[in-house]
Symmetry: C2
Subunit: 232 residues, 2 copies
Amino acid sequence: MAREHAVLRLAVDLCILTVREGSLQVLVVERGNEPYRGRLALPGGFLRGDEEPSAAAIRELGEETGLDGTRLHLEQLPVFGAPDRDPSGRVVSVPYLAIAPDLPVPRPGSDATGARWSPVASLVSGGTLAFDHHDILDLAVERARASLENTTVAAVFCDDLFTMGELRGVYEAVWGISLDPRNFSRKVTKTAGFVEPAGARRTDGVGRPAALYRRGPVGRLNPAMLRSSMSS
Amino acid sequence: MAREHAVLRLAVDLCILTVREGSLQVLVVERGNEPYRGRLALPGGFLRGDEEPSAAAIRELGEETGLDGTRLHLEQLPVFGAPDRDPSGRVVSVPYLAIAPDLPVPRPGSDATGARWSPVASLVSGGTLAFDHHDILDLAVERARASLENTTVAAVFCDDLFTMGELRGVYEAVWGISLDPRNFSRKVTKTAGFVEPAGARRTDGVGRPAALYRRGPVGRLNPAMLRSSMSS
DNA sequence: CCAAAAGTGTTCGACGTACACCCATGC
DNA sequence: GCATGGGTGTACGTCGAACACTTTTGG
């Protein structure tokens, strides 16, 4: 019958992605506590008594970075539960992928000394991050790439008002390829509910002013955005 | 700083789907222990000390149903962690979607009195299942539907050798629509690595004998199978 | 012969790709 | 003018949908 149940703690880890300076970046913190004190890691913390995991993710997001989790896209990834993944004891981690526009990080964390954006490409595989956070990062990036194909979350990477060029920049940064601006624009505007024209235009220095858009009501993308070729 | 961590147990619940008699069915057990003794539920149990969640899922699969979990397709779904989801205490559940061919269920469970297949359609929403297992079922069915579009798991619903008609029957049962046999066959055989011809043919009573196939090496389906229309 | 299931050929239309071309701005 | 980015028009190819038609079995 029932043998001894595992005595464990449940952690929530956050992989917060954004697009800055044309590259995909992730929010990392320098750990202030053992284990792995001083090492870079994904922000996170333990689940409390009466908390849903998703509520814990939103709370940690606020505590460690000052970001408002209720306004971000949050997506749960498969749990990490290797018995020896945390040297301080049995901890199962519930990782979340969060997608944020390019925001400053106002409040440095309490448990962590300073949160900052780091390009995903500069965190070489198997290298710098504490725990198994590199595996979580890989999973989150792959999920983000897939989500751009089938959903409209790309717009969550942008501010409230954005141009086609900015939205296309999200796809190019996350997928690491370049897209044809003309076909991209048509595809997005012809997909009902993806974006809504905001009427205004923006002049960013050189070039013809671009029309501004805001997010539309539709979440799923059908037909999907195609990652294959479409290159320019 | 760190407030009290949640004291909790981690459960693993299994949503084992198969296609029997032309309909999508799920394996349910009658609970032998409190809470919800006597009610139908998804098979599952608690995580042990040195166990990965996925290993616990495979172990529970064997204990409660006698099925060999290492031969099935296993996919983790988002966790369920509402604080009051289990009246006996704080339990966070890691649900798994398992996909099985139409097999008998040899060994009745130890914790549960008798496992049996039940058509998904007959488990009316919000009705019979214990805990929040109905939400888990809905999630698993939706995931299975999506997986048929993008992966070759449909073949895992079938035996080692199967006909095009059987494979198509999986799609029709899981999606609840009918597909054009002629276009379906072409689409599958032209997707390299989905299925491999086994050479032999099978005569199932009436009609022209069907060629037999086995699973191919490819897991992801590109381009995807389309659920929209294609009806006959 | 007839019914039923397996499979092939073919036409049509939708859509993705590529690219020529025009528009509006800063310098 | 010229470079730069925004946006439209359009031709071509690919692929999914629909369906006529042939093949091979059982009754």
